[in-house]
């Protein structure tokens, strides 16, 4: 289960009439507790997304949950301490959201519950039409608050999922592969915006240091668009690598990319480029050979 926020969930201020209405609604539902619990269970079973969950629960577990929720509701409507109930709703919302239960299933559950409860409240209230209307309004308010909290929890946990996926994509999208001693390959796929370019260049430079790479082949076959901005990023990466003593060779400049680059006036000054990966690898190998030769001469 996802961790829930310790800070209290905000609650609107209720008028005395509404408070009385909530209390009346709660009393009616208490008077018909068995009936309400049974009906709620049945409603949940009728909603395809909830059915398997309800069916998987043992009667003891259901009874325990009902007892606990009774206490939480009592504290909210009688004592005015809403936090335990709201926190429980929030935790449930986050839990069901990560399970993949859709939010519309909740809306349906609450709508059906409301349809069941409305006649019960009308029949149960004997203090005149005004109190009856207030009790219905109280019920609506409670359900409205519930759906609000659940909805908020859904959004938060979905956002959390999106964030972690974004991170995963980010990491996947900038792999630096070592193919032999001193030689790295950096296949780039997707649009290279400034933020991503910076990440790519950074991870490349750290990989150069960590692997003591003499040459890096950067393959841009998967980059759909190379304008002057992207070209500028590429030039920066080449220059930064050179300052560290490593050579970057850019490969995968397709005929289309070459055409658009020239048409746009985007340039790659002082950069070794090749149409295919093979050419780049051969050039990189030549650099490695030269470096080896230099070193052996020293010995």
């Amino acid at each position: 289960m996802t961790e829930s926020d310790p800070k209290p969930i905000p609650l609107p201020k209720f008028s005395p009439e509404l408070k009385q209405g909530m209390l009346d609604y709660w009393k009616v539902s208490q008077d018909h507790m068995e009936e309400v619990n049974q009906a709620t269970l049945k409603i949940a079973e009728e909603i395809p997304e909830f059915a398997p969950i309800v069916k998987a629960m043992s009667p003891e577990l259901i009874a325990k949950q009902n007892r606990e929720s009774l206490e939480r509701n009592r504290r909210a409507f009688v004592d005015g301490d809403w936090q335990p109930m709201l926190t429980d709703l929030k935790v449930q919302g986050e839990h069901y959201a990560t399970m993949g239960i859709s939010f519309s299933a909740w809306i349906e559950l609450i709508r059906k519950y409301k349809e069941f409860m409305r006649p019960l409240v009308v029949r149960g209230m004997k203090e005149g039409p005004e109190r009856t209307i207030a009790a219905l309004a109280g019920m609506h308010e409670i359900l409205y608050i519930s759906i609000e909290v659940i909805g908020e929890a859904y959004i938060t946990s979905k956002e959390r999922i999106i964030r972690s996926q974004e991170e995963a994509i980010r990491e996947l999208s900038t792999p630096v592969l070592k193919i032999r001693e001193g030689l790295l390959i950096l296949p780039l796929i997707g649009i290279l915006d400034s933020q991503r370019a910076r990440r790519v260049i950074e991870s490349m430079l750290f990989a150069i240091r960590d692997h003591r790479a003499k040459a890096v082949v950067m393959d841009i076959t998967g980059v759909p668009m190379v304008d002057s901005k992207v070209a500028n990023h590429l030039v920066q990466s080449v220059e930064a690598a050179r300052l560290m003593g490593s050579t970057v060779i850019i490969t995968g400049l397709s005929p289309e990319i070459a055409q658009t680059m020239v048409a746009l006036g985007a340039q790659l000054p002082n950069v070794k480029t090749y149409g295919d990966l093979q050419g780049g690898l051969e050039e990189a190998q030549a650099i490695l050979d030269l470096s080896r030769k230099n070193r052996s001469m020293e010995a």
Partner: protein, 123 residues
């Protein structure tokens, strides 16, 4: 000012630890040029691995130093520029265009030897 200069055969190894102030640079430049001359130095390795920032002033000084040493007949190789520093320099457009670079001391000495040999062959 924290610069260490070590001599190894006909090679000087210079380690710059932090950014130098204007006047310190000038003095360091002069010291180094005189020392190279006096000791008959042919190659200089400048280690920048201790520098966590290289601004436009420092990069111009390095460029100048390489040119001056070149006029004295020495080859210079820069080693140890850190990834963060390299990236920052590239973004500022500081290229050290005429300066040969190497990853570390090993590569640096090899590169220096190769360049000295090349220079002799050209002569």
């Amino acid at each position: 000012m924290s610069v260490s200069i070590m001599k190894q055969g006909a090679t000087l190894v210079v380690a710059l630890q932090e950014a130098l102030a204007d006047f310190e640079w000038r003095r360091f430049q002069q010291d180094l040029l005189q020392r190279a001359r006096k000791d008959g130095i042919r190659g200089v390795i400048v280690d920048l691995s201790g520098m966590d920032i290289v601004d436009s002033f420092a990069s111009r000084m390095i460029n100048d130093l390489v040119r001056m040493l070149g006029l004295e007949g020495s080859e210079v190789v820069i080693i140890g520029i850190q990834p963060e520093v390299a990236f920052a320099m590239a973004r500022l457009g500081l290229r050290l265009e005429e300066v040969p670079t190497a990853l570390d001391f090993d590569e640096g000495t090899a590169l220096l030897k190769a360049r000295l040999k090349e220079r002799r062959n050209h002569a």
